[in-house]
Amino acid sequence: MLDSQIEYIPVLIMLAICSAAIGGMLTLNFLLGPKRKNAIKNAPFESGEKQIHSPKRRFSVKFYLVGIFFIVFDIEAVFLFPWATLYRQWLRDPAFAWVAFGEMFLFLGILSLGLVYVWRRGALEWD
């Protein structure tokens, strides 16, 4: 094991504690909780609004479009992250700092074209 890997052990412990807590709560609730089944108890919102229609229906494709935009701009942000981490280090060499600035400018410029396209096409509108 390397030192850099041993740093992940707290993450592992946290994951284990979280899973144990959630699993324990759900299991105990299942085992100990009172069960009185009747039509009112089984309604999705007890003492709430009546259901208008089943939730098991098709979603609009518009949600998918928003999902795609989210992924694309999420990946864009991922590429910004290492660049931003390293930029202060690159500033020691001003010539390369400008190159690095230019390459990220180009990257963001090309993706901004995508944003402009999406905007002008009205894909951000919920029509």
Binding site: Y64, D74, T85, I110, Y117, A123
Partner: protein, 171 residues
């Protein structure tokens, strides 16, 4: 220690991947997608074992976070109920699939048995403590691999335009 963690992660990855398609989880596509999230978390653990820190973080951020959201949207978009699919019928393509999977697994098991398992990894862990960190990967990405990096932006641009063309009702 390392072996133990590896086997836990490996068995977890395989088990949760199988659960994506096999009942009880696989009967409901949404449950299958959630099982896929678990598989991605186990995979992220395997990346940590490979000292690929940035990739491990991205696995959780991008795959478990963003891609599965898209999967869920597609599942809810299609909203296929089990009644729509009808009874599963044996078809010739399923038979071919079973034969192919059987053949590949026999070949793989044969190779593993021939080499007496995987006792020694072919390459040792990197001795450099900064290997696989954000800074090291970034330094390579923005210098040696600058062209693929810029091409990524064009790929993402094409993805955005393609999604708009396909999914927008009125262009």
């Amino acid at each position: 220690m390392e072996q133990v963690i590896f086997w836990i992660l490996a068995i977890g990855t395989v088990a949760s991947s199988v659960a994506v398609i096999v009942p009880p989880m696989g009967r409901n596509p949404v449950h299958g997608a959630l099982s896929l999230v678990v598989a991605f978390f186990f995979l992220a653990g395997l990346y940590v074992m490979l000292v690929a820190h940035l990739v491990a973080v991205l696995q959780v951020l991008i795959y478990a976070g963003a891609i599965v959201v898209l999967f869920l949207f597609v599942i809810m978009l299609l909203n296929i109920q089990s009644e729509d699919l009808g009874h599963p019928r044996p078809t010739i393509s399923k038979l071919i699939g079973v034969i192919a999977v059987g053949f590949v697994s026999i070949v793989l098991i044969g190779f593993i048995l021939k080499d007496k398992g995987m006792a020694e990894p072919p390459v040792g862990l990197p001795s450099d403590s900064t290997f696989g960190t954000v800074k090291t990967v970034g330094n390579l990405l923005y210098t040696s691999y600058i062209v693929p990096f810029e091409l990524t932006s064009i790929l993402l641009l094409v993805a955005v335009i393609g999604a708009v063309i396909m999914a927008k009702r009125r262009l």
